[in-house]
Subunit: 223 residues, 2 copies
């Protein structure tokens, strides 16, 4: 079985959000799809370990914020590589309330759902939601996972369905570029973002932070 | 509720196939996503009215063929706008058997699954499949639904979750181009493909067929 086939499925980049006892929380997700058109329903797949999963069970509601190519890529890391259990992910990310749920103001569209069914798997819950509100927030091209991967150079967090263990990724990297280890390339050890700016990495200011997950310069490793 | 928000979700273009008593059959689908990574599972959403739905229930197996930008766009219409109940959709479409299931040879990748769960909605079944085989068939960019919509100029068949009733589509078209009705533009009445070739539509040969759904020239209407 060649797991690279899984990378050929196309996805968007979303923040799935809900309330956590009056506080907004959420997580980055790729796996969202419309299931029926009338009445409109949407399914999302959320890892059991994501705090958002527990909060959706409690509220019975979730919102999907569709990130666009011009949305701040930092949102992906803010919602994707940290837990909402012990921090407020919306701290510093502008939110708007739509259909009684918090959505990311910098997204291009939102869909608000009420959970009507769910399917459990070994690691993820597929929540099926009946759409109660939806709208466009701004004109932008929806960000695809391919765009995130190829243009923003981001990776999947370990809880994502699309995560492929490091060995495979490393093998793929080795096949594509055998000179990687000696190229002076710097990679964020938290989210996998590859720095490819014109300024040499060593000369970046000390307060430089990963544009995807906001980790400090010290989180980058050469390789 | 602005249903245009649903169009901001990103999808690929797939053929979901299975056996129908020894004969290969399948249908075009957008709604496929990976749910878990280990063990790998994939969910697809198939309309109750699609013959493929019934056949997947009988075999307990399905394959996802991932169409690429260079796959013959005629495959989309062959599998998307006709029923496998009364015709052999694979007739004229080269198939290869992978993991004991028929897949489209002209696809860029395939994923073969064994059904382990399903979730019913009013019009669609979400089949959850454990991946038993997967592989790359050829190097190509996976076709996104946006590419199909914007470059190939195709539409959704009525059974698709992404289908939006004609009124909305017409309203959208009117907002974008008020001159459409008098522009001499020809549209396939079956799949919505818009002819935009350099040769005037009237001068196309009589054996011209819609490149998406293979309908004859007579199926085109001006407007």
């Amino acid at each position: 079985m060649d797991k690279n086939a899984f990378r050929q499925l196309s996805y968007g980049v979303y923040v799935v959000s809900t309330w956590d006892k009056g506080r907004a929380t959420g997580c980055t997700a790729n796996s969202a799809m419309q299931i029926t058109s009338d009445p409109a329903t949407v399914a999302v797949s959320i890892n059991h370990d994501n705090y958002t999963n527990q909060c959706i069970r409690e509220t019975g509601k979730f919102a999907v914020s569709v990130l666009g190519e011009h949305s701040d890529p930092g949102i992906i890391g803010t919602f994707g590589f940290r837990s909402g259990r012990d921090q407020n992910k919306f701290d510093g990310v502008e939110q708007v309330v739509k259909g009684y749920l918090p959505v990311v103001a910098d997204a291009c569209a939102y869909i608000v759902c009420e959970v009507i069914d769910r399917m459990e798997t070994s690691s993820h819950t597929v929540f099926l939601g009946r759409v109660t509100d939806a709208g466009i927030l701004k004109k932008d091209e929806p960000m695809t996972y391919a765009y995130y991967h190829n243009v923003i150079k981001g990776k999947s967090p370990k809880n994502a369905p699309t995560y492929i263990a490091e060995e495979s990724a490393a093998a793929e990297g080795a096949a594509g570029s055998t000179a990687a280890a000696s190229s002076g390339r710097y990679v964020c050890s938290v989210c996998g973002y590859v720095y490819e700016g014109d300024v040499p990495f060593e000369e970046l200011p000390e307060d430089y932070r990963c544009p995807v997950c906001k980790q400090p310069k010290s989180a980058f490793v050469e390789g």
